[in-house]
Symmetry: C2
Subunit: 236 residues, 2 copies
């Protein structure tokens, strides 16, 4: 498969068209942003780590019955994926209160939720990715009822599979963000990435943060944390 034109450059990845219209190639960057683009920086080696971690986890999820966009890893930073129309939602899954949820509800970070919380944000940088609910999704026609139900079902299943898998690597899955897309033939698949950029990973024993919060909150050892996740998941 050959890259042709660049379709899109996002904050963390570039997306290229290929000679096959059903596929595209994503190329992961070392660029890091936070607070809706207000904070900018670089995390050396992040692109390669996020590419490999994402593909590793997507393969695991495929085996557990979750359809994903993953096709083939091409290199350190580049992967062939099914081209999809992204459902304009960030689906956030939360097991433990942290970040915006802790603030919104006045909970201490680290509070275990009595049940898993799903949140939907409308993926729109200009509006600041506002939180919405299922009624907004239907009224705005971002997705149909059937699509939302499937996305919610997949999200809970992904949470189950990943939480258990990560626990064996001494990583607690606090929360994470998913994006789903629709293939040319109308199938809903997991798209985008699953990485320390898009998840909160805490060491199960020490509580140490192994994710992008080290960058957001200037905690230091940012690169080390990404490396550590790669090592725990893929032994290198």
């Amino acid at each position: 498969m050959e890259k042709t034109v660049q379709m899109y450059e996002g904050k963390a990845k570039k997306v290229y068209a290929t000679n096959d219209e059903n596929y595209c190639i994503v190329s992961y960057k070392d660029d890091a942003t936070a607070f809706n683009g207000l904070k900018k920086g670089t995390i050396l080696g992040k692109g390669a780590i996020n590419n490999r971690v994402t593909n590793h986890l997507m393969k695991l999820l495929e085996k557990s019955g979750i359809p994903t966009h993953f096709v083939e890893e091409l290199s350190d930073r580049e992967t062939v994926v099914k081209k999809v129309t992204i459902v304009p939602l960030e689906v956030i899954v939360r097991n433990i209160a942290a970040g915006s949820l802790a603030k919104r509800l006045g909970l201490a970070e680290g509070t275990k939720m009595k049940s898993t919380v799903l949140e939907y944000c409308y993926k729109d940088d200009e509006l600041g990715d506002p939180m919405i609910n299922e009624y907004h999704i239907l009224a705005m026609e971002f997705a149909t009822k059937e699509e939302i139900d499937l996305i919610a079902k997949y999200s809970f299943k992904i949470n189950d599979v990943l939480s258990h898998y990560l626990k064996d690597a001494n990583i607690e899955l606090i929360d994470f963000k998913l994006e789903f897309g629709k293939t040319a033939d109308g199938q809903i698949v997991l798209a985008d990435e699953i990485s320390p950029d898009t998840c909160r990973f805490w060491d199960t024993v020490t509580g140490e943060k192994l994710d992008k919060d080290r960058f957001r909150r200037d905690l230091g050892h940012v690169e080390d944390a990404y490396q550590e996740v790669l090592k725990r998941l893929m032994g290198e």
Copy 2:
């Protein structure tokens, strides 16, 4: 029924205990607040109007099968209601985009929604009544799944009944806020008020605002608007 001690003074009403522990007496004030209490003022005659409009609409809803807290109007400003434990949610029903929804989704005020939107806010002044969804409600145990389903069902029904009723008075029901409570025997009933303080009412022909937005946005003729609603609904 006799008022005994004041149980609570809110921004728009006082609530008194009575000699019967299953009932309380609400007393409507002329005080007006907006933007989570940042803006304060007085709307002359508002208390009496909101008391009468609320009771009028609650009686209409009871006839349509919605259980409410309404018991008996005592005077211009005072009404006996069933004492309930308020479910700590503001339930917002939206037919047309306005206010915070228009802002959140980048819609022009007045945009008709393709389907009715329900929103839940956690009723907590200190947190600024943050918007939450059903998953938060369950995880925080603000209500059970059965209670949420019933509250949603009632809210849609109330929207239907009121929209039709108000249209005959040349009032378009844009959006409104509801509160529900639980009686001593565990029944979910509509509580609080339904008034120009808690609804957006637009004249169906001119689009003129007949609600608290006149106060929030300094549009003038605030008292006139409240009077006009009373007149259209109760002929006086």
